[in-house]
């Protein structure tokens, strides 16, 4: 305090300019940590309410009371709950999610192995959603209440209301079984399995690195249907939000002013108004990506896509709780990370938000 009062005004300004962002970043990091603690609390509780007795699962039901008590103490189940939680938290922070019952690998290894498949699918879907959704939203806003707007709104409302697993099945039925335009479930035909060495885990990228064009096209035609369907669902949300953000912008006076100064309407809409909308869109896009990851459990089940969702689903049905909770934490962390990212990116793209720092 005293240092700040004796400093020159310029230095004080520097301090303030520096302290603002630091405080903001610290705030975001704090809330992220809090959320992470909440998440692990929930997974911890879930792990404890599980009707299966973990001790019994190890010692078997013929074990004596002493063995039972001994194993119970070994796993740490006799400790007070807060201590147990602390130990659990430490394990999670070290990436120890236990061993998967089905694969008998450490859960973390499994997760890292399957995650690229999910990433490949959801990133492409997100790209489709943004590249198509944003222009549609802008177009709907500039044609407010005309038939173009009605059509776009209705199309996105349909996407909003569609159960993703059903859409996937109908898509497979139509485009794969009836029309034969795309390849069926899975990431690759069986005959192409294991040709390309895994580098990034994204088959389309790996096959190009290895120069296997044939594998690339096979992977592409497997990918295109699920990615387009998911892309449609994210498009629905992106277009809808873009439209409402754009409407808010187009009503503002600066739009009228720039038009009056003789700027082309095209430029006003796509450069000036859309430029201001991007800020809010960052959050929407982050949320969309989060929901794509979440929805992976359903989509991957439908498309037999060997990613995180399918892994979690299979673990679920084999009572492999370690794997389910590990997956939950992974999705949760990505989700929280996306939220944080959009909080932090906000002021970078919007000078007005910077002032509020």
């Amino acid at each position: 305090m005293s240092a700040a009062t004796t400093a020159t005004p310029a230095a004080r300004g520097r301090v303030r300019r520096f302290a603002g962002p630091v405080r903001r970043v610290a705030g975001v990091v704090f809330s992220v940590l809090l959320t992470f603690l909440g998440l692990t609390c929930v997974t911890f509780v879930i792990g404890r309410v599980m009707p299966i007795d973990p001790v019994l699962a190890i010692v078997g039901d013929k074990a004596s009371a002493e063995t039972y008590a001994q194993v119970r103490a070994e796993i740490g189940l006799d400790l007070p709950i807060p201590v147990q939680y602390w130990r659990y938290l430490m394990k999670v922070l070290h990436g120890e999610f236990g061993t998967s019952v089905i694969t008998s690998h450490p859960v973390l290894d499994d997760l890292l192995h399957v995650f690229p498949a999910t990433l490949e699918l959801s990133v492409l879907a997100l790209i489709i959603g943004v590249v198509v959704g944003v222009p549609l939203g802008v177009f709907a806003a500039t044609h407010r209440d005309r038939w173009q707007d009605q059509v776009i709104r209705f199309v996105s409302l349909l996407g909003y209301s569609m159960p993703v697993f059903w859409l996937g099945l109908v898509g497979l039925l139509l485009f794969y079984a009836k029309l034969g335009w795309v390849e069926g479930p899975g990431r690759l035909d069986v005959s192409y399995d294991d040709i390309v060495p895994t580098i990034t885990g994204l088959i389309t990228v790996d096959s190009l690195i290895a120069g296997e064009v044939e594998v690339f096209w096979n992977a592409f035609w497997h990918l295109v249907l699920p990615a387009s369907l998911l892309g449609y669902l994210s498009l629905a949300y992106v277009a809808r939000m873009t439209r409402s953000f754009m409407l808010a912008q187009l009503n503002q006076e600066y739009v009228l002013a720039t038009l009056a100064k003789g700027l082309s309407p095209w430029r006003v809409v796509w450069v000036h108004a859309l430029g201001n909308v991007w800020v809010q869109l960052v959050t929407v896009i982050a949320l969309t990506f989060g929901s794509l990851l979440e929805g992976a459990v359903l989509t991957e089940t439908v498309f037999a896509w060997p990613g995180l969702g399918l892994y979690m689903k299979n673990s679920l049905f084999n009572a492999d709780l370690n794997a389910v909770l590990g997956g939950t934490i992974l999705v949760g962390v990505v989700y929280i990370g996306l939220n944080m990212l959009s909080d932090l990116v906000y002021p970078l793209v919007d000078p007005r938000a910077r002032d509020r720092w």
């Binding site: 959320t35 909440g38 792990g47 209705f154 209301s161 159960p163 059903w166 099945l169 359903l298 679920l316």
Partner: protein, 308 residues
């Protein structure tokens, strides 16, 4: 307060009475507001379609035994397996020879049960957290909103999945799992609505008359929050229905032999290529229902002037 000025003639039709610019009683004012809302709502054809779908769904669930035989929904006739649509089986039969039409009709009960139970949990919890946060502000607000933010940042379906996995499959657990992740938006909404009204003069008047905090919240603030909460709830219904159907599809919702739409789609997957109707028709039911709630919610929101 005072009697209506005598210059205006007494309205002679119900419509005129409802649209009376100077209502004579509270009841008239309230009904008039509802009626004006309805007039605005009526102008939106899509919203009317949504309303029709939702009303049809409720009627279908209420009168399910009249529309289809309960027996046909669960009774297995193995020699009638996977029949295509016919007069005897409007939507065909499934892999166990059960009538899909009857199962779709009875499935509406499961869906509506889940949606109703989730609403009954989520709205009170949201209000309970959001109202004090907005009303008392300060550290209460900070703590409650942090808690809300934590739950808001959870992946909904995945968490519901983990819960259903731990608690075991079934409708009750699906409801708990969905509710657990669905309440935060209501808390935020209730807080925001409370904040905008906290400083209003009628609240101050009530305070000066010595009303307790609880009384002010319950009688002054809650009624004003309800309309935006209801709109939000209608819009959320679609999401709740989709999550519930997703859990059902994964085998974590209602258990067989109960007819649940998501689970029906799941069993139909195995025969998708040859008997497409088994999976697609229940899916269509999910789709139409959630579309109905979305259309209705959109319409209500437009009437309320973009609030909520």
């Amino acid at each position: 307060m005072s009697a209506r000025p005598s210059i205006a003639p007494a309205p002679d039709t119900l419509r005129a009475w409802l649209l009376e610019p100077a209502p004579a009683s509270r009841g008239q004012a309230r009904l008039g507001r509802w009626f004006r809302g309805w007039l605005a709502f009526r102008r939106n054809p899509l919203a009317l379609v949504g309303l029709a779908i939702v009303v049809a769904l409720v009627l279908m669930a209420l009168f399910a035994p009249l529309l289809a035989s309960a027996d046909a929904a669960v009774h297995q006739v193995l020699e009638d397996r996977l029949q295509p649509s016919s007069w005897a089986h409007l939507f065909g039969t499934d892999e166990l020879g059960r009538d899909i039409y009857a199962r779709v009709v009875f499935g509406s009960r499961v869906t509506l049960t889940i949606v109703t139970l989730v609403s009954l949990i989520v709205v009170p919890v949201g209000l309970l957290i959001g109202l004090p946060a907005g009303y008392f502000a300060g550290w209460i607000d900070t703590v409650l909103m942090r808690l809300t933010d934590i739950f808001l940042a959870f992946p909904r379906l995945v968490l519901a999945l983990a819960f259903a996995a731990a608690l075991g499959p079934g409708i009750e657990n699906a409801v708990i799992a969905i509710s657990l992740t669905a309440w935060p938006p209501y808390a935020r909404l209730a807080r925001a609505e409370t904040l905008t009204r906290r400083q209003a003069e009628f609240i101050q008047a009530a305070e000066m008359q010595g009303a307790s905090h609880l009384r002010i919240i319950a009688t002054q603030i809650v009624p004003l929050c309800l309309s935006s909460v209801i709109i939000r709830l209608t819009l959320d219904m679609a999401g709740i229905i989709l999550t519930a159907a997703g859990l059902g599809f994964l085998g974590l919702g209602a258990q067989p032999p109960a007819a649940e739409w998501g689970a029906m789609v799941s069993t139909g997957r195995n025969v998708l290529l040859d008997q497409w109707w088994v999976a697609t028709i229940p899916g269509l039911a999910i789709f139409v229902t959630s579309l109905g709630f979305n259309l209705l919610g959109d319409g209500l929101r437009d009437v309320a002037g973009g609030r909520g």
